[in-house]
Symmetry: C2
Subunit: 199 residues, 2 copies
DNA sequence: GAGTTGGGCGTACAGTTGTGCGCTAATTTA
DNA sequence: TAAATTAGCGCACAACTGTACGCCCAACTC
């Protein structure tokens, strides 16, 4: 059993090293296999014992970041149940995620419009997941029909991601302003959707 | 005088070559100086007679793409004056731009969340320009105060860019669906903003 | 205890990169 | 016409890349 544990540990080291390399100046496609190996403390050729490609590593990273995002959503929902507005609670939770998992969010942000079709597709799946859960929530907690709920959820998620993109490079004060603007804009959408639902 | 003309011509060749390299698989940071030179039909070292860096070339490309976008906006405004809804006319014009100038749009899209702070700043300036003009237009053509108009314009521009990002890889039929969804979502925002203005 | 498996390493190689240097040839200036 | 400028080129070099190959040795199987 010792062997598998060691292998998992090295794999983790590679993944963590890759995430740490993804600061504001680097993207997946600009990180080389050798660099990752160096940061992980292994020989370049050892990399192949764990991943076929840099691309395979990249997909793993996207999956992990997406998972972290989904966990965030659950957390946000539980807070809403405990009281507080749906919108402001979600916005605050999201902003916290952007700050505390900045490299994970940056990865999603960058590869969303990056050069690799496979990465783009992977990120899109995560975002779609995000939208679907919000659609369900909206349809259940308001009288909105699914079409309108879907339109609203999509618009909201897009705005949230855009705001996250701006917030990631901002300081706490600026982030607060962004969060407030985003709050108001999400209310526009909610109000508009309610209007078109005939309410 | 012959010499300057020739120099401009070569410079144009470099810029055009760079744009042509920026298809769905390449980004500015992944295009090498030698590649650009090769595509432009010059020796690698000749590149330096025109640009100090690849980065200097990149900024030039962002500026050109932004200019094309601004021209698009003027065109859209003139069409609106000639009749047709503000939103649907703008959406249609934008979608046309995404299709016919796909590499320019892709450049803005990618570098907006890219690895170079300088490029990100340059794209952000263009988007800000976009938002400001829409804010002015909105404030003038509706009773909205500037704060609300600004919030609305920002939200709309972000949604438009997001939709453009999806449309760029889609076929005509899918694009039509995206355009219709975007239309409805922009109406949500307009409606919501009007509501908060007390109308 | 003997044999197999497999993670990790070092070496090696061909390919690509950015860029410094000095030359040519043609245009521009004097 | 003679001199100066300059776009473009070829060569060279060191740095870096991905990855093939084969060895080692600790962990596992039997």
């Amino acid at each position: 059993m010792r062997r598998q544990q060691q292998k998992l540990k090295t794999r983790r080291a590679i993944i963590d090293a890759a995430f740490n390399l993804l600061d504001e100046q680097r993207s997946l496609s600009s990180v080389s296999l050798r660099e990752v190996a160096r940061a992980a403390g292994i020989a370049p050729t050892s990399f192949y014992r764990h991943f076929k490609d840099i691309d395979e590593l990249g997909l793993t990273l996207v999956d992990e970041a997406g998972l972290a995002l989904r966990q965030l959503m659950r957390q946000a929902r539980s807070r809403i149940d405990a009281g507080g507005g749906v919108i402001s609670t979600s916005v605050n939770t999201f902003m916290e995620f952007v700050v505390s998992n900045s490299n994970e969010f940056r990865l999603l942000l960058r590869e969303h419009s990056g050069t690799s079709p496979a990465f783009r597709a992977a990120v899109l799946r995560e975002i779609q997941h995000f939208i679907e859960e919000l659609t369900d929530y909206t349809a259940n907690h308001t009288g909105l029909n699914r079409d309108l709920a879907g339109l609203q959820a999509e618009a909201m998620v897009k705005l949230v991601f855009s705001a996250g993109a701006e917030a990631i490079d901002a300081n706490a004060a600026q982030r607060k302003v962004h969060a407030q603007r985003l709050n108001q804009q999400l209310r526009f959408i909610a109000r508009g959707a309610a209007f078109y639902a005939g309410k």
